[in-house]
């Protein structure tokens, strides 16, 4: 036995700790955050957690800036540090910081933050009432949040399918929990959580199954290895196609592309609004990052097989998203379908299969992320006595009551509709031009019609807010604390800036270049 062990040399893991510093910082902070929950007194926890969260996220951004320009594979080639990975990670971190501002908000709801005082308490029960009256809050959201962000940082940087799967689970599991923690309408929230968990688990299984198929074909999990195996063996593709399809299902579920979008409206509606905002933005960035990497690096050789499939998925995603959104009467569900439609638009960048495709996808994700965070921040401000007033009819005449908030929301809606001088236009322009240059003109034509349809339901909300008289007994706009105000200000600033002066970010996205193998 001894001899056998001696025969197999254990290689020193190739692990430059500096190259994955952002990951280490966020995961490290997440672990400390768990300890804080265990050891710090209840009264002091929130403060400690907030300092920890913001300090670690900002430190991670700083570490990321320090890594700019690095192109290498690290951690036994399981993590790629390249332009697109760093760009995606930066986007996730910045969006997460703004998302954390929303999660930290405590003065909108008279009872405290947006989360149930104790998740295990029976909704509407005596315990819940007592805890609410005592002003309890659940600081456990912070470790969950940090683990989730960590997973999101790893997901688009994973260079083999197994690491990617781990990252997928690390980012998903906390989200399932977070979605179920709403303080108001808890049953809806718990239902959302359960749905998300069941469907999410299902899609993870698909991902894993696809991984197995590709492993069966290539004998390796590494993306580069799969690409090599594909280029060496173009003939027999049955196993590959099955693997590609199953893998794509898992990833398209996360980006909420049709027909894997069923969970989106329910989860977006049920989850606490700050979590919805975080989910709608960061998950999309991370998932598109992973999708791009898998499709471009591992499966670039069989692009002629998956491109038509993504064409069709992009088309139905855009159309289903915009058409169903018309019928929505709840603002959060409307935004959910709008996010589905936007996933379709972003897919245009993916199907371009070019450097411009990567750059435009990344730009779109950043632009869309900040506008979406801002939009959900506004949603959290419009309230009546029972919580957020999410029914559209309640928004009538908001422009007269609170012109500033309604004006800000209008800006975000115009950005979603892709009106020039907002970030939405620049990003649509970027993906459309990448897709046309990539030969996907028919999909772009569909996208144009989808944009017009989407303009209808965005315009309808503007009509409600500005052209209609306010309803009696309507909701009021709550004055937020500095947290949400700052998040809103950032959302507005980025939305306008990326519309008027998009060049710096476009440069950054273009310099990110291509994926490393």
């Amino acid at each position: 036995m001894n001899g056998l062990i001696a025969l197999v040399p254990i290689p020193t893991p190739n692990m430059d700790l500096g190259q994955i510093a952002p990951l280490e910082i966020v995961f490290g902070a997440a672990l400390i955050s768990v300890l804080v929950e265990a050891f710090v007194r209840r009264e002091g926890r929130r403060r400690v957690q907030l300092v920890l969260v913001f300090a670690s996220l900002i430190a991670a951004v700083a570490a990321l800036v320090g890594l700019a320009g690095t192109r290498t594979l690290t951690a036994q080639a399981s993590v790629a540090v390249d332009g697109p990975a760093l760009f995606m990670q930066g986007t996730v971190l910045l969006l997460a910081i703004v998302g954390a501002l929303l999660i930290a908000e405590r003065s909108i709801d008279p009872a405290g933050d947006a989360f149930a005082p104790r998740a295990s308490a029976l909704p509407g029960g005596r315990e819940e009432r007592e805890l609410t009256a005592a002003g309890w809050s659940q600081t456990e959201v912070w470790p969950l949040f940090l683990f989730c962000v960590g997973g999101m940082l790893l997901f688009p940087a994973s260079n083999d399918l197994l690491t990617m799967f781990v990252a997928l689970e690390v980012l998903s599991l906390p989200l399932y929990l977070l979605a179920g923690l709403a303080r108001r309408r808890r049953l809806l929230s718990q239902e959302a959580s359960l749905k998300y968990f069941l469907l999410g688990a299902f899609s993870s299984a698909f991902f894993l199954f696809g991984t197995a198929m590709l492993y069966g074909f290539a004998g390796t999990f590494s993306l580069g290895g799969i690409a090599d195996a594909l280029s060496g063996n173009a003939g027999d593709n049955g196993l590959v196609m099955l693997g590609v399809a199953l893998l794509a299902v898992g990833l398209l579920f996360k980006v909420a592309a049709v027909p894997f979008h069923q969970w989106t409206p329910d989860v977006y509606q049920g989850a606490p609004t700050p979590i919805t905002a975080f989910m709608a933005t960061c998950v999309k960035v991370a998932a598109f990052g992973a999708l791009l990497r898998v499709m471009y690096v591992a499966l670039g050789g069989v692009r002629w097989d998956w491109q038509p499939m993504l064409w069709i998925i992009a088309i139905i995603t855009m159309l289903v998203g915009v058409i169903v959104a018309i019928a929505q009467t709840d603002i959060k569900r409307m935004l959910a379908y709008s996010s589905i439609a936007h996933a379709g638009f972003i897919l245009l960048g993916v199907i371009a299969v070019s450097e411009a495709g990567i750059a435009s996808t990344m730009f779109y994700l950043a632009a869309y992320g900040f506008a979406t965070l801002g939009a959900f921040a506004v949603v959290s401000l419009v309230r009546d006595s029972s919580g957020e007033a999410t029914h559209l009819s309640q928004w009538a005449g908001l422009g007269k009551r609170s012109p500033v908030v309604a004006g800000i929301f209008t800006l975000f809606l115009l950005a979603f509709a892709g009106i020039p001088l907002t970030s939405g236009f620049t990003s649509k322009f970027a993906v459309f031009s990448a897709a046309i240059a990539g030969g996907a003109t028919p999909v772009v034509i569909v996208a144009v019609f989808a944009s017009v349809i989407s303009a209808f339901f965005y315009a309808r909300i503007i009509v409600l807010m500005f052209f209609a008289e306010p309803a009696e007994e309507g909701p009021r706009v709550v004055l937020p604390s500095a947290f949400t105000a700052l998040a809103l200000a950032i959302g507005v600033a980025v939305t306008v800036l990326l519309g008027v002066l998009p060049q710096p970010l476009l440069n950054l996205a273009q310099q990110a270049g291509i994926f490393l193998r």
Partner: protein, 514 residues
């Protein structure tokens, strides 16, 4: 040439005015109106100053040109400059905005939106107009082509009549449909330019210089032309106009029909023809047919209207038919006529809408049947309305006659049948204008008219007098505008690569028109 960025200043001034007005305190309505008017007069003064410096026979295509990199990643630059056509259209809006403000001094007083909001939106719209006409970068043009919709959308939706919500959304969606198809086309153009020159660009001169394959041209042309056809508006994509103009306040309707819609015809002349010459020539017969249908159909529908503002909107559908006809006739007379028509139509429609607005605000009804006998109680107003109407039906001596005549003779040399049918539009114009005048102004006034309709007041005279004066003046000396416009049209013809048909006919017609 000068290094002062005059055009940018001309656009930034109203934009700054819009911000100032919007930031005024809530109750200060009168102050907001005065400040807004002051800014619009400042723009007018600036435009006059520019017009005086403009040299009609300069060798460069664009004057007061500026160029800065904007988004190099997309090959986009901030480039502005004006040729004669753009200059007269900017001048048209610079004249109309203060007039609209004076005429509509109380238009926003009882609306859903605030008074200062109305005046701020008017100024914001003016800024977009200056930019859209002066852009010499296709991307910049497109940006303001779309952004322009937003202030107009709010002007209709917040300050319009009872069906304003429907009208505003319809306006926005129609325009966006056209606009986004155009976006697809200009991205296509960008990709083509990248393939042909190595780097994609939106620079006007470069795009005009490209020799694009005719098959591609035809596709791209359709996208761009559709947007302009919706904007102009041409039959059958005109249905948003009567709703929008009918529901908007008279002032907004003037700017909508008088200036905004001109972006459509301006775009055809500036972008469709020079960038896609082969495609333009290919589609010209079809477009001419649609234009002629529009002339007749718009006129027939105008005759059938019972609502004053909708009637005026339909007359514009007919008039836009003439403008498009002139543009696609590919003769210099017709194109000069169209350019002149854009200006004249702006003034005559403004006069009609504004006086109709005065009538409607007094009587409290937009229905033609609710009027009658106004000439008895308000003879001066009736007289002004008649002048405006006669200008709309192109009576010789009034400005629109010259342009309509130029369009028709210019078209006749190339498309005699189309010109012949279009001439019927003039007869129908006489029907809808005179019949409307007869139904509203002549006869015995009813009780309501007698008690409510009063003579035109000082402020209203102040608004209308300059318009009427311009209508008459341009009828006698159209050369003022034509001299500025003609070099631009000549250059266009050269770029497109067409010449006027048989010279002896052209000479005879030129003699006739002068």
């Amino acid at each position: 040439m000068t290094t002062v960025p005059w055009l940018t200043i001309l656009a930034v001034v109203p934009l700054a005015g819009a911000l100032v007005v919007a930031l005024l305190p809530k109750g200060a309505d009168l102050l907001a109106k005065r400040v807004a008017l002051a800014f619009s007069l400042l723009v007018l003064a600036g435009t006059v100053f520019l017009a005086l410096q403009f040299s009609a026979d300069a060798t460069t295509q664009f004057q007061f040109a500026e160029q800065h990199d904007w988004i190099p990643a997309f090959g986009v630059s901030y480039a502005v400059g004006v040729d004669g056509i753009a200059l007269v259209l900017i001048a048209l809006s610079a004249v109309l905005v203060p007039i609209v403000m004076i005429a509509g001094w109380h238009e926003a007083d009882n609306a859903v939106g605030s008074v200062k909001g109305y005046f701020a939106l008017l100024l914001a719209l003016e800024a977009c107009i200056v930019w859209v006409f002066s852009a010499t970068d296709l991307f910049l043009f497109y940006v303001f082509f779309e952004v322009m919709l937003i202030p107009m959308y709010f002007l209709i939706g917040r300050y319009g009549g009872p069906r304003r919500q429907y009208a505003a959304v319809k306006f926005l969606l129609y325009s966006l449909l056209g606009g986004l198809l155009m976006l697809a086309a200009i991205i296509g153009l960008y990709v083509v330019s990248a393939q042909m020159t190595g780097t994609g660009t939106f620079d006007y001169a470069t795009l005009v210089g490209l020799d694009i394959d005719p098959g591609t041209q035809k596709l791209l042309f359709l996208g761009v032309f559709f947007a302009f056809a919706v904007k102009a508006p041409m039959v059958p994509v005109h249905t948003w106009l009567p709703d929008a103009a009918g529901e908007a306040t008279p002032g907004s309707a003037v700017l909508l029909v008088g200036v905004l819609d001109k972006v459509g015809t301006f775009g055809m002349l500036r972008y469709c023809l020079p960038i896609f010459p082969d495609a333009a020539a290919f589609y010209a017969p079809v477009i001419i047919a649609i234009a002629v249908v529009g002339i007749i159909y718009g006129a027939l529908l105008a005759i059938g209207q019972s609502d004053l503002k909708r009637l005026i909107a339909y007359t514009s559908v007919s008039h836009f038919g003439f403008i498009v006809l002139g543009i696609f006739a590919f003769t210099s007379q017709a194109q000069s006529g169209s350019a002149l028509y854009m200006v004249n139509h702006g003034f005559s429609t403004a006069a009609l809408f504004l006086i109709a607005g005065f009538l409607i605000s007094r009587r409290g009804s937009t229905l033609i049947d609710d009027f009658g006998g106004v000439a008895k109680v308000a003879p001066v107003m009736a007289g002004l309305f008649l002048i405006a109407g006669l200008s709309s039906l192109a009576l010789p001596g009034l400005s629109t006659f010259v342009s309509e005549f130029l369009v028709l003779v210019g078209t006749f040399t190339r498309y005699p049948v189309a010109a012949g049918v279009a001439t019927l539009g003039i007869i129908l114009a006489a029907v809808y204008i005179l019949w409307m005048y007869q139904r509203t102004m002549t006869g015995e006034p009813g009780d309501e008219v007698r008690s409510k309709v009063t003579e035109i007041k000082g402020r209203e005279v102040l608004a209308i007098a300059p318009v009427v004066a311009l209508i008459i003046a341009l009828g006698f000396v159209p050369q003022v505008v034509l001299n500025v416009v003609n070099p631009a049209v000549e250059r266009n013809m050269v770029t497109v690569g067409v010449t006027d048909p048989p010279p002896q006919v052209a000479v005879a017609i030129e003699g006739g028109s002068k």
